[in-house]
Amino acid sequence: MATAHSRAAARLTMSPAVILLLGWMLIPLVMTLYFSFLRYNLLMPGTEEFIGTLNYQYFLTDPAFFSALFNTLALVGGVLVLTIAGGIGLALLLDQPFWGRGIVRLLVIAPFFVMPTVSALVWKNMLMNPVNGLFAAIAKGLGLQPFDFLAEAPLSSIIMIVTWQWLPFATLILLTALQSLDRERLEAAEMDGAGAVDRFIHIILPHLARAMTVVTLIQTIFLLSVFAEILVTTNGGPGTATTNITYLVYAQSLLQFDVGGGSAGGIVAVVLANIVAVFLMRMIGRNLDI
């Protein structure tokens, strides 16, 4: 149906978006790649020189890199497990008929719209603070010693904050998937004497598998780049206890002005993210019928 004329028009209308994105992706990425092979410190201008893979050697053998890699994996993994488990529970709950379902749904998805700096500061100060926080007040009320969350369990505390932010997303997607489940299959299984647990394991979970994969992949993309929550709560500390790869690269380049080393770290982060991206793209590509 498409004529030569409309194909020319298609190329013309598509080009601004393609050119902009190409420029946005390629130019800075090539610059980062180039910087990563240089000795380049913003505090010592004019001393730039080619040093081969030395930046990569330093970055990849730095103990801070290993702890950052571990923290990144723990943060991504912890939040994924908690949001998917919690999301399935919440989706099952919100799928039941009860009074005020619309309002409860609004309450549950609300945290997703809270900007990261606000949620992190509210949790840090008003809930988790060992002196004035609400959790400390509750602990004292119960006769317990208040717990200094961000000092004694910093990474777990950040996982908790990020989980609170992402739980609505997982819930919404799993709930949408759950609502497309054929009710008659559940009823038929019930008639055949399948208990609630059996129905969950053999019918509901397989039906949710696709949605769970989508949640896992999309959240992973965002969770690999968690930044604001760390910046305003712990600044990556104590020590490097809450430094993830994103924060490590930020600290190296914009706090220590080591452009070369930071660039090498940035490239490492791109490679890690690409491994995840390949899976997500396949998943969405399979679903796209053009």
Binding site: R7, M14, L106, I109, L134
Partner: protein, 276 residues
């Protein structure tokens, strides 16, 4: 009998669901309540829930001390500006992908998506240095540009999935009648796609409003949107809980309301159409 049992079951579910909902919502509720307290009451032990002296002074103090409205306005300009600019570029692109698909349309769509997966730290340094050299650091226009590019793939994808549901024959008919490309998009496609464009607009304003990597790294006092303004409360002086709460409430409230309105489109937009 059966009805009584269902009703009792429904009551139990209602109680559980409301409890869970309120627990999840509680940090937001607590922030809103604290914003109306005095600083002394905000840290009182035991904490007061509703029986405190309600005051609005935190709100006026946040404005006076740090020019809240400047940052609010920055957020509005940056999120609305980047979304509109993105739509301007994305509507023609999505039109061609949906109505004149070629052999490579699928590849282009997937490639656009892949740019979204580029971690921001991978390009942080060059962007920072380019912005420094072009005088775009701490400028609203710089942030508008970056957020437009960041959200462009999502805008194109969302529009594409909406446009695809519009029958192409109508557009073809207008073409037969001699409508040019511009007229076809402006007067035939857009009126039919208003709901889809509106949800795309809404979701992208929300995403841009809450974006907190580039806004934190590329802005300082002048162009700082609310994300960066709130971050300045991470190293405060003196008692600040009530003021932090007031600033947070004002930063979150408008977007929360928008979010509640667009919750149905959220799933579709954020999964690139993989879950509808």
């Amino acid at each position: 009998m059966a009805r009584a049992a269902t009703n009792r079951q429904k009551l139990v579910v209602t109680l559980i669901a409301w409890t869970v909902g309120i627990v999840i919502f509680f940090p937001i509720l607590w922030t809103v309540l604290t914003s109306f307290k005095t600083e002394a009451e905000a840290v009182a032990t035991p904490p007061t829930f509703l029986a405190f002296h309600w005051t609005l002074e935190n709100y006026s103090e946040v404005q006076q001390r740090s020019d809240y409205f400047l940052h609010f306005w920055n957020s509005v300009v940056i999120s609305v500006g980047s979304t509109l600019l993105g739509l301007l570029v994305a509507v023609p692109a999505a039109w061609s992908m949906a109505f004149v698909p070629g052999k490579r349309t699928r590849d282009v769509l997937m490639w656009m998506l892949s740019t979204k997966m580029l971690p921001p730290v991978g390009v942080l340094i060059p962007i920072y240095l380019l912005f420094r050299d072009f005088g775009l650091l701490d400028s609203r226009i710089g942030l508008v540009i970056v957020l437009t590019l960041i959200n462009l793939p999502i805008i194109v994808w969302m529009l594409f999935t909406y446009f695809r549901e519009i029958p192409g024959e109508i557009l073809e008919a207008s073409r037969m009648d001699g409508a040019g490309l511009r007229d076809e998009i402006l007067f035939v496609l857009l009126p039919m796609a208003v709901p889809g464009i509106a949800s795309t607009l809404l979701l992208n304003i929300i995403l841009a409003w809450n974006e907190a990597f580039w806004t934190l790294n590329l802005s300082a006092s002048q162009s700082a949107p609310l994300t960066a303004f709130i971050a300045s409360y991470s190293s405060p002086e003196g008692l600040f809980y009530a003021k932090l709460s007031a600033a947070s409430t004002m930063a979150v409230a408008p977007i929360l309301v928008l979010g509640w309105f667009s919750q149905k489109q959220l799933v579709r937009g954020l999964t690139f159409g993989a879950v509808k």
